[in-house]
């Protein structure tokens, strides 16, 4: 590298360009592809290479987006309502599952004999596809809010329960030994060692469970209601409005992204001591 003292303005400019080229952030590449794809899509529809009804072009989607925010869909149901309905259902089912599963999981995990006795039940209950329970839940509780919240809670419950059990069992024995040698009682060890030691894994389970809640809610909103984002995209199909379905999917992506980020943020606030907050994929 030449020293900066003899650099002419032109060479300094080139150097700066080089440096900026090296620091193009990764998301810029991604954004570039997205823009190119959107443009290609628009172009292809313009030239009638692909069907505008099946693949409504980005410009049309943008107008629909605006219209949805202003007037909502179907008539009389605002986008606001859809968002609130979906969020509220997720929140109810998810928090019920967490509130039940975390204490239970901690207890089961700390009681080895009990853990062995219930392990097959948990394994099987986890394997039961949550959505296969939909007809049964409908037969039991009817097509209503309770059924939807119940299914979300069911799906999340077993994931959180398993993670809480594994979390307790995964707390390193050396922490227990250290606490014992410092004279802590069994109760103190549970509250001050087992509990904080298992929080990171419990949070990992909560992240996976959020993905599950999201999967279930979209499916259960497709029947028996016109409120909620799942209902929005299904209703749009009944009216042959592919554009509305697609915008609805964008809404879903946004809400999913925001929820996942909120949870990650919460984790960083609550567990500042955790070394690597690795992203667990759904």
């Amino acid at each position: 590298m030449p020293s900066s003292s003899d650099a002419t303005p032109r060479r300094a400019w080139i150097r700066r360009l080089r440096r900026t080229r090296l620091t193009i952030p990764d998301w810029a590449y991604g954004l570039l592809t997205v823009l190119v794809l959107l443009w290609l899509w628009e172009y292809a529809v313009d030239h009638a290479w692909i069907n505008a009804y099946r693949f409504p072009p980005p410009s049309k989607l943008a107008r629909t987006f605006e219209a949805l925010l202003e007037r909502g869909f179907p008539r009389g149901v605002t986008t606001d309502t859809h968002f609130k309905a979906t969020l509220w259902r997720i929140l109810k089912g998810y928090s019920v599952a967490a509130v039940c599963a975390i204490p239970l999981g901690l207890f089961v995990g700390a009681t080895p004999l009990l853990e062995r006795a219930v392990a097959p039940i948990i394994t099987f209950a986890r394997s039961v596809a949550t959505l296969s329970l939909l007809p049964l839940a409908v037969a039991w509780f009817g097509v209503g809010e309770f059924t939807r919240v119940f299914l979300i809670a069911y799906g999340c419950f077993w994931i959180i329960l398993t993670s809480a059990i594994n979390a307790v069992q995964g707390v390193s024995k050396q922490y227990v030994f250290a606490a014992q040698s410092l004279g802590a009682s069994r109760r103190q060890i549970f509250m001050q060692v087992m509990l904080p030691g298992s929080l990171p894994r419990i949070f990992a389970g909560l992240r996976v469970a959020l993905g599950m809640a999201f999967l279930v809610i979209i499916a259960v909103e497709m029947i028996g209601t016109i409120e909620g984002l799942g209902a929005l995209i299904m209703e749009a199909r009944n009216f042959y409005r592919t554009d509305v379905t697609m915008v609805g999917m964008i809404f879903i992506a946004i809400i999913g992204f925001v929820l996942a980020r909120t949870l990650a943020w919460l984790e960083r606030i609550l567990l500042p001591w955790v070394t690597d907050l690795e992203e667990v994929q759904r």
Partner: protein, 256 residues
């Protein structure tokens, strides 16, 4: 002798939970604490399983379901693996395609159902599409993550003994990323399976999901429960086969 007795005792403990649940469930029915036509007991379901459906029919439904999920999974998972490996090997390609993937990833596979119906109609294609989406995203993200986190020392070691190009990819990068790929495949499989059930429950005329819906239409709860148990069992068995037999053996060096 001593060990055998310990093993038997372990077995008893492991199954005691299941036995207790089954007995309580049956007692609640026998004592009419719950309405048996709404909450059928284990014996009633066993009776349905043995007498209500011929085994051949049930096997046929199961076969259809397995075929669907396998087909969709192979397409989605295969595409995901190839995309992930290429994206991890050719970094520029990876950066370029990661935008669209990251945008589409938060959309759960079931949210594609209305679009799939519009694109492919009510038939087999749309189900396979949904199922393959379930497999694609977990596999592609985990494969990519595995590929880009391979220890650079491995590459240096391999290059110093003369490996380069495609052989470096095939002999070093992919094997080193395999544990992550395995995680992706396992998650992808369970998501494919969940999507299959949803797709069959919402629209199908064969398969285990359809069997459940049939039970609901004729109002026989024990048929629904039977179907649910079958699906759960199938999920359990396939997951066991994939994970324990395939990966445990292939990835002994990793799982120990």
């Amino acid at each position: 002798m001593k060990q055998q007795r310990a093993f038997q005792r372990n077995l008893l403990v492991s199954w005691s939970g299941v036995i207790v649940v089954l007995v309580l469930w049956q007692l609640a029915n026998t004592l009419r604490l719950v309405n048996p036509s709404v909450f059928p007991g284990p014996l009633q379901i066993l009776d349905t399983a043995l007498n209500r459906f011929p085994a051949a029919d049930v096997l046929d439904h199961a076969r259809i379901s397995v075929q669907r999920v396998l087909f969709g999974f192979l397409i989605g998972g295969g595409l995901g693996m190839v995309t992930g490996i290429l994206a991890g090997w050719y970094r520029l390609f990876g950066k370029l395609i990661w935008g669209p993937i990251e945008i589409l990833r938060p959309v759960p596979p079931l949210a594609w159902i209305p679009i799939a119906l519009m694109w492919f109609g009510l038939g087999e294609q749309s189900k396979v599409f949904i199922i393959s989406l379930g497999a694609f995203f977990p596999v592609v993200t985990n494969t990519y993550k595995g590929m880009i986190s391979v220890d650079p020392m491995l590459f240096r070691a391999a290059q110093s003994i003369g490996l380069r190009g495609p052989r470096l990819l095939a002999k070093i990068a992919v094997p080193a990323a395999l544990p992550d790929i395995a995680v992706g495949i396992r998650v992808g499989w369970s998501l494919s399976f969940g999507s299959l059930v949803a797709a069959e429950v919402l629209a199908a005329n064969r398969g285990l999901g359809y069997m459940i819906m049939y039970g609901r239409e004729v109002g026989e709860v024990e048929v629904i429960v039977y179907g649910i148990l079958l699906i759960g069992l199938l999920n359990l068995i396939t997951d066991y086969l994939i994970f324990n037999l395939l990966f445990r053996r292939q990835l002994r060096w990793y799982f120990g």
